[in-house]
Amino acid sequence: MSFSPGTPLQTLLKEPFTVEQLKEYAEASGDHNPIHLDEKFAKEAGFPSVIVHGMLSASYLADFVRHHFPESDYLLVRFKARFRKVTFPGDRFTMEGEVKELLSDGRILVTLKAKNQQGELKIDGEAEVRPIQ
């Protein structure tokens, strides 16, 4: 498959984040910060509810990259996520992306966005992949 700058990647809609999922991610990652787990603590910290672990939400963007550039065919050489807004349980991501630039040695630079169901930009980022010879 060939890509050129400006080629959009087909959007991907994910399931909403859940409180249960945050508990599971805390166990898996070792990040037990109560801001992700304890409703009372999160409210005292000024948030309306617990917040989604940044790296859990970023993993959805990494998954989006892999959806379009599978491990069997591409190496992931760089991945960057900027957390623009805090993500909450109930937020449902739509992922968008575009081929930005074709770099040297065949690398492909793509830009990435994760928006919730209100269209708020939660994360943007970029990734570079290189086809496996």
Binding site: G46, M55, L75, L76, R78, K80, A81, R82, F83, V86
Partner: protein, 67 residues
Amino acid sequence: MRELLHVDQEYEYLAPLKTGDPLKVSTRIGEIKERRGMYFVTLHTDVFGGEDKKIVSNTTFVVRPKS
């Protein structure tokens, strides 16, 4: 109030890690920038697998003083 938030994360995968690679992870404090009373702290991390550097990570947190 909110004290620390993860605002930016980047990984560069220089070479694949292999099964059995002994890992060494080294993190150093990079830039600290102050903006409107908040501190943006960037950490640089190198992951070595054996002798070779395999992954470079840059992590930025924003730290807000307690109010």
